[in-house]
Symmetry: C2
Subunit: 234 residues, 2 copies
DNA sequence: TGTACATCAGTGAACGCGCGTTCACTGATGTAC
DNA sequence: TGTACATCAGTGAACGCGCGTTCACTGATGTAC
């Protein structure tokens, strides 16, 4: 049974998160202020502490919510593609990530930009939602490989270079931690794809090519995703 | 003729920049504080204004200095490699960038992380030093191409996909702005390499794969650069 | 070489602002008998 | 159904802190005659 009080509390908490996101969007994560949220909420500054233990606490909640929201958008986009269209699944996730990032640039900055000064994310809370998208991308690669529909074009997976025994150990530990043993070559390929995709999106969102490069980068995003897909071997 | 006063002034300005970098390293760019610099300098807070017009001014100076320092490190690394070893030149720049970023993570964050809240970089000042490294990487690609030693493996340059007329216009405008007309396919390839390299380095510096992924990412950096070089076609 | 004047680094006080967090409190909403 | 008590949202004042920036000033260093 949900009491009116509980409903009111839930509504207020949702409003706090919404106002916090608005602040992050407008001024960036480092500028997030509990007092400002209280002001926007029309409430005295100390009242916030009925809902949030501390500023760090709220940042953690935003991080978790942000990662989850992004993952949901990616999942939805992937679900709209046939399961055996591996390349398209992978591309759909990339495009969904980019669309989400462009819609909420500061949120993207919070998740994948530099660290927020003075704040240290508690990994045990942020890590599971933080790796969801990465795991979906990895699944597309693994399933394509299992179906014999993957021909990597670069790196050790393509036989061009080789992983050292030391690298093999570290790489296979990553997948083993998650219960699915995978070739080191394939893990390296997956990480390459992931970091490249992050780079493409961050470059656009953070305008890292300067004002003259910006329009081209926007037009180019899709070509870049396709090129990375080529490299991965879809 | 350099007067003692001028020398003292120069020394103080250098010390201010050094203290500012120390602050950025320790607390991140958004936390940069003129008062704290004055304190560290052993001087009253208002005295800073004899040397720096405002906080934004100092941030701009740091940005310019950071980009320049990074570019110098990259240039030095490239110069140690024979001019016709295109792939090695390109890799040397990547490795120098990564080494610089690991040595000064917060500086990397200032240059290539999200924006500093409330600060807008004046593009006409930061753009020239900001594009130096990118242009060196581009030069390696162009020279390899001119020497007939480039076989791109992905994207339009490899003939796998195609650029639309609209994309071609935007892409060729970028290189034309710099006086060297280049094929749209090659510009796209260069930007892909650039964004992928930024992604690889930022992923490691910002620890975007979580604590379990970190050691592998470090071991993997070089493989990733090699793989990107493969994709570009060196 | 000595003196009058200009330049400039640094002082100290102040303005007005915002921040996170604590604490004792009021008063309304819920719960148990 | 009515009353006593517990829960809890929100208040208001305060603590102690840091920030960027301005302003009139002192006193040492440099420059021109």
């Amino acid at each position: 049974m949900v009491t009116p009080r509980e409903r009111a509390r839930e509504r207020t908490m949702a409003e706090i998160r919404a106002l916090a996101w608005k602040q992050v969007e407008e001024l960036g994560a480092p500028a997030l202020s509990l007092r400002a949220i209280a002001r926007d909420l029309g409430v005295v500054s100390s009242a916030i502490y009925r809902y949030v233990a501390s500023r760090d606490d709220l940042l953690t909640a935003l991080l978790v919510e942000g990662f989850s929201d992004l993952a949901e958008a990616a999942d939805a986009a992937e679900a709209a593609v046939p399961a055996d269209a591996y390349r398209e699944r992978w591309l759909a996730i990339c495009r969904a990530m980019r669309a989400w990032a462009l819609e909420r640039p500061a949120a993207w900055g919070l998740l994948y930009g530099g660290p927020v000064p003075g704040y240290f994310a508690p990994q045990q809370e942020t890590s599971p939602p933080g790796t969801r998208v990465l795991l979906r991308l990895a699944a597309a690669i693994l399933e394509a490989k299992a179906a014999g529909r993957l021909e990597p074009k670069v790196g050790p997976a393509a036989g061009i270079s080789q992983v050292s025994p030391q690298q093999r150990l570290a790489l296979e530990a990553i997948s083993a931690d998650r219960g699915v043993p995978v070739d080191a070559e394939l893990v390296a390929l997956g990480i390459l794809g992931w970091t490249a995709v992050l780079g493409v999106i961050s470059s656009e969102v953070f305008e890292q090519l300067g004002p003259d490069g910006a329009p081209a980068v926007a037009l180019l995003a899709d070509i870049q995703f396709e090129s990375i897909a080529d490299a991965v071997g879809f």
